[in-house]
Amino acid sequence: MSILDVDFMRYAFAAGAIVGLLAPAVGFFLVQRGMSLIGDGIGHAAFAGVAAGYLFGVSPVATALAASVLAAVTIEWLRSRYGTAGDQALALVFYTGIAAGVVLISAAGALNANLFSFLFGSILTVTNSDLALVASLGIAGLALIGLLYRGLVAVSLDPEGARVTGLPVAALHVMLAGLAGVTIAVSMRIVGILLIAALMVLPVIAAGRIAWSIRSTFFLSLGIGLVSVLAGLTLSYYGDLAPGGAIVLLAAAATVVAMAGRAAIAR
């Protein structure tokens, strides 16, 4: 029987393909802004969202989505409004998220295997409705990035010059933070809350070592992200492994190979 004959694997591949493109597409602009770790902070807030979903008996994906977007926008707001150093804003959201998650999950009595599927990803749990959510939000996110690509590049290259010439720098930063929140929420079924941030960052770092322009870095990031997810899911199916770990290890391997290749060429 082929891997694609299995319903849950078809769902996992379809959702994974979107996640594999969306995560590095959003992560690309976060890495350029020096905010590589924001995904971790948002991920911990998403954990609190999942816990709230269990406690209140509503969809954990929906509550994680709300918590992620709220956390991402809060980080951006703290940075811009109060000049809070990026890592301090991140620390506040990071620790508040994990603490709230622990309190809520213990209150809900939901410290079980199903929770682990959110933390580390699980190919068995991707349902038809999960796929619909990932597809609709993921494709909308990719379309938004495509539409605003030039503006996001301009703002990343020179935020102050962009502000002088009238580009809505603050609005673009908030939109990007919101997209990071959406990405984490829709990706957690496949990659897991604790590992999705890596899929936003590692493909971009790998691509940056071998690319020759912004555009090539962006598209190579997407390619590495997509291949990591599809290959990771395949490994996970045949090896009975947690998909998040397999995917991120492959992305990490791609990063190490790209760094080593760059170093060899430089010699």
Binding site: Q32, E160, R163, V164, W212, S213
Partner: protein, 239 residues
Amino acid sequence: MQLAVSLRDLSFSYPGGPPVLRDVDLDVPVGQFVGIAGPNGGGKTTLVRLALGLERPTAGEALLFGQPANRFEDRVRLGYLAQRALLGIEAPVTVHELVSAGRVPRRGLVRPFGAADRAAVHGAIERVGLHERANTPIHRLSGGQRQRAHIAKALAGEPDLLVLDEPTAGVDVEAQDAFAQLLEELQVELGATILYVSHEFGAVERFVERLVLVSGGILFDGPPSALPGHWHDPSHVHP
């Protein structure tokens, strides 16, 4: 006479700090090439940031083309090269990509580039003499070439007011001379208003129509030929 920049009784200090600028009055007519010089820490950069509406004055007002600078809406008319302009991006950036970014405000956030935009980008690259290096990553260029690429980015938006803050800092003297020559040509061809900030002023002194010395306020405002001898090296001006 239309004014590109007008500063009226303008003072500025950072919260809790001493005044950086006090009682500054400065009118810059459209089309003028003005050099702004003075010692490090004298308030040159603060002055242009106030003029561009990036900072709010603690007293007085700053106008851009007759409108309050912080509420000026037609910002596509501005071009700005910040002090020690660095690429705020980790990825490799080609000259073409950098210059294209300068065209985005003029085109609008979501509209795709048209023929006129591509021509403006190409023209800006050609104007600074980097057309053969358009696809070269910036980090492979010399210091002088990098500065020219940043200027091309500002030019791609076809600005009416170009503000350059220490554009040749860290660039060798030969490249500074070439850069000053380029600015003079641009000012003549485009008729743009140029504010050129520098504490090393020798290279453009012979091109600017007007020199403004800034050190906590305006100490001198006139043609470079009228500059008192003891102030001739503006980097050592003391009130």
